[in-house]
Amino acid sequence: MTGPDPRDELATHIPALRAFAISLTRNVTEADDLVQEAILKAWGNFDKFLLGTDLRAWLFTILRNTFYSARRKTRREVADPDGLHAAQLVTQPAHDGRLAMADFTRAFDQLSPEHREVLILVGANGYSYEEAAQMMGVATGTAKSRANRARARLCELLGLAEGETVLIPSSSSGAAAPGMGPQAA
């Protein structure tokens, strides 16, 4: 065997795995437990990883599968793919044409896990609908419509109308990062 062992690259993906896990669980402790479980699963299945393919995508897939199978078992959350329940809890932020990162994050947290997931894959990580669909185990069309519904829902939660400036200032990234989800108390 030649070439680098993908196992050696696993550590470089841990920050992204943790961020993805936080956005799915919205809980830092739960997120790290999920990452640990995903690492263990990945390690035991590295013979199934195709060398030369996207290791992060493979790890993301294992992580999200672990998340959903645990969720199915415990059923801690009511199935609510469109975030209808969460919608009742929302208060729309008042914004003056500019969007604060904290408001954006708060609205993101109100989305259903399915919507958060597709936005993290397609929006934040730039995976194509086709790639995201493979990772989520759905058809490409489903991934696309889910992403569009998730974006629409996010705009609705933010009280955004068409034509508004919705870019959060890039200077706010970095310092005082609220993270994708609530921080552990």
Partner: protein, 56 residues
């Protein structure tokens, strides 16, 4: 009707701009949430797994 079509086009362009902005925000928030520091529990876990793999 031509007018309806151009209105629709304008709406699609706005929607496309909004989509791009949303995705850009998602990128910024996700990147801001990345913690480059790897917690000890994961360093230890990887070290353990590596050690176990080596003895096989």
């Amino acid at each position: 009707m031509a007018e309806d079509k151009s209105t629709q086009k304008g709406r699609d362009a706005t929607a496309e701009g909004l989509r791009r902005d949303i995705d850009e925000n998602l990128k910024r928030v996700f990147e801001a949430s990345l913690d480059p520091e790897i917690p000890d529990r994961f360093k230890d876990l990887l070290a353990q797994l590596k050690a176990r793999g080596g003895t096989r």
